[in-house]
């Protein structure tokens, strides 16, 4: 940390002309590691405060004219929790896991393709990456949801493709593109001298990549990769728009099943917020810890 410069007291840096300082952001963007930093930076009691506020909300705001009490609302919530978690949130996690798996596998290939020496492959992979990084998630989701068949027939067996599998594919596309950029960025962060050194030791390009370069930068990819997992998990409720029965969708259904009392809204949705927090918070903490530990100079 540079202390404040006092003219005439501190010797000024003689070589670095202060034409423009570097552009330093105080926060990093969510898609880098910023999301995890933010989440990990929240005190653990924040969501419980929300829940507490939720408990107080209906008494003050909606107390007039209704005989449905907050107590009843929370009783209803308790009744529904096993279903919401066991069925809804479970599906959320399954979707996020599978999406990450598919996205990572495809993304690694795409990222390696981007640094291929074959100009055509490199250009093609770059184009695919940019296309899916820059298309709106919702548009991709709609396209996959509608254009994929609801069942496929192989021989005599009909394999149904449920909605949530299609959601996985739709979400995996942007994830793939972002993983591709992580891979490319990490490989490019290794100094070119490393490539030259191993080339002069007669390693092939393939050997250099897998034995010299990737072992150096694989650690760097882990925190941004985990960060994307947290972003993805937090973004999965978006698939409820398309009718996938994940936790947000089931919550809405549960509220409807409980006769749509407005008092239900805040406890139920706050509960959703809290389970997402409980799930993502430790991941974010770990991400930030790993990022710090792996922040070695190459």
């Amino acid at each position: 940390m540079k202390s404040k410069h006092i003219p005439g007291i501190h010797q000024q840096n003689q070589t670095d002309l202060p034409v423009l300082h570097s552009f330093k952001r105080r926060y990093r963007s969510p898609s880098e590691i910023g999301f995890s930093e933010w989440l990990a930076g929240l005190p653990a009691w924040v969501p419980f405060l929300v829940l507490l506020a939720a408990a107080a909300w209906p008494m003050t705001a909606l107390a007039q004219g209704s005989n449905y009490t907050t107590g009843q609302a929370f009783e209803a919530l308790l009744r529904w929790i096993p279903f919401l978690v066991g069925s809804g949130f479970f599906l959320t996690i399954v979707i996020s896991f599978l999406t990450m798996l598919v996205g990572t596998v495809l993304g690694v290939f795409l990222g390696l393709g981007q640094i291929s020496q074959n100009r055509f492959i490199a250009k093609f992979c770059w184009l695919v990456t940019q296309t899916f990084r820059n298309s709106p998630w919702l548009v991709l989701l709609f396209i996959v949801m509608l254009s994929f068949p609801f069942e496929i027939t192989i021989g005599d067996t009909i394999i149904p493709i449920p909605d949530w599998i299609k959601a996985v594919i739709g979400l995996a596309l942007p994830i793939m593109a972002n993983i591709s950029e992580i891979v490319r960025g990490a490989i490019n962060s290794v100094p070119t001298a490393q490539w030259e050194a191993s080339e002069s030791l007669a390693f092939t390009r393939f050997q250099t990549l897998f034995q010299i370069i990737l072992p150096q930068c694989i650690k760097r990819m882990i925190p941004p990769w985990m960060n994307w997992y947290a972003i993805l998990t937090m973004a999965t409720p978006i698939v409820s728009i398309l009718g996938v029965e994940e936790v947000l969708n089931l919550t809405r259904q549960a509220i409807e099943a409980e006769d749509n009392h407005p008092e239900l809204l805040v406890p139920f949705y706050s509960f959703v917020l809290v389970i997402f927090f409980i799930y993502c918070y430790p991941i974010a903490r770990l991400t930030v810890r790993l990022e710090r530990r792996f922040a070695v100079k190459l």
């Binding site: 423009l20 570097s22 105080r26 963007s29 820059n134 919702l138 409720p237 978006i238």
Partner: protein, 251 residues
């Protein structure tokens, strides 16, 4: 000419039932696509402008002496940067929308003064604005104190220093980050879908609900429309960056 194009797509729909470009030969559907696209463009442009204004004001407030003002701005940034924008849209529209006054043009219909389009503009502008505050702040910090002092020694007022020296330089270093954020904003306008803003995605969905045979063509158009919009933003920002480049610095 137009009639020939329409005829072509009409025949195509007859020959290939899954490729019914209904909006290319039916006036109402065509108008839906155009009005959706127009809404998306309007949303994008208005939100870009408002978010830039929020960015400049917020960056100014972050440099304020009062710790309360700074804390408010930084709380705003932290909240809006990291929560999903569609949650913000829902929150603005359903939670805050409840408390906005309504008016009654005909005596019995209650219309809120802020429509869903209004809430989308507010919500998306604040979302992108949060990033812009931070980007401009970093840009201002990149302008060395000594350059400002030189201007001060030449007799510039504070406002002149900001207008002639700090802002032009800050803007230049901010462009790449701004570029990313504005692209993201254009992408995020699709999420106004959740509060039924009739933008391109919303109109597309209504079209393929009415004409299931138009699904494939509509999705193709949708996909390329967004790539095109994003492409325009990226290209114009790159052009701006090139024209603003200071000779002799950076590469």
């Amino acid at each position: 000419m137009i009639e020939a194009v329409r005829e072509f797509f009409r025949e195509m729909a007859a020959d290939y039932p899954t490729w019914n470009f209904v909006f290319f030969y039916e006036q109402t559907q065509w108008e839906k696509v155009v009005s959706g696209l127009w809404m998306t463009v309007q949303l994008s442009v208005i939100c870009v402008i408002l978010s830039l204004v929020i960015g400049v004001i917020g960056a100014g407030m972050q440099g304020a002496r009062s710790p309360v003002v700074r804390a408010v701005v930084s709380g705003y940034i932290q909240f809006f940067r990291n929560t999903p924008p569609f949650v913000q849209l829902l929150f603005f529209y359903f939670a805050l929308g409840q408390f906005t006054p309504t008016y009654s043009p005909d005596g019995w219909l209650e219309i809120p003064i802020i429509s869903n389009v209004g809430w989308a503009i507010i919500s998306l502008s604040f979302f992108a604005g949060a990033f812009n505050v931070e980007i401009f702040r970093a840009g201002v910090e990149a302008v060395p104190k000594s350059t400002q002092e030189a201007a001060e020694a030449l007799g510039y007022t504070r406002l002149q220093i900001f207008g002639y020296v700090v802002m032009p330089l800050a803007l230049r270093v901010s462009i790449p980050a701004l570029n990313n954020n504005l692209v993201n904003l254009v992408k995020t306008t699709t999420q106004a879908f959740v509060i039924a803003v009739p933008e391109l995605l919303y109109e597309s969905v209504t079209i393929w609900n009415d004409f299931p045979s138009a699904q494939n063509p509509m999705m193709t158009v949708l996909f390329f429309a967004y790539l095109g919009l994003v492409g325009i933003v990226v290209m114009s920002m790159n052009k701006w960056e090139r024209t603003m480049r200071i000779p002799g610095y950076g590469g």
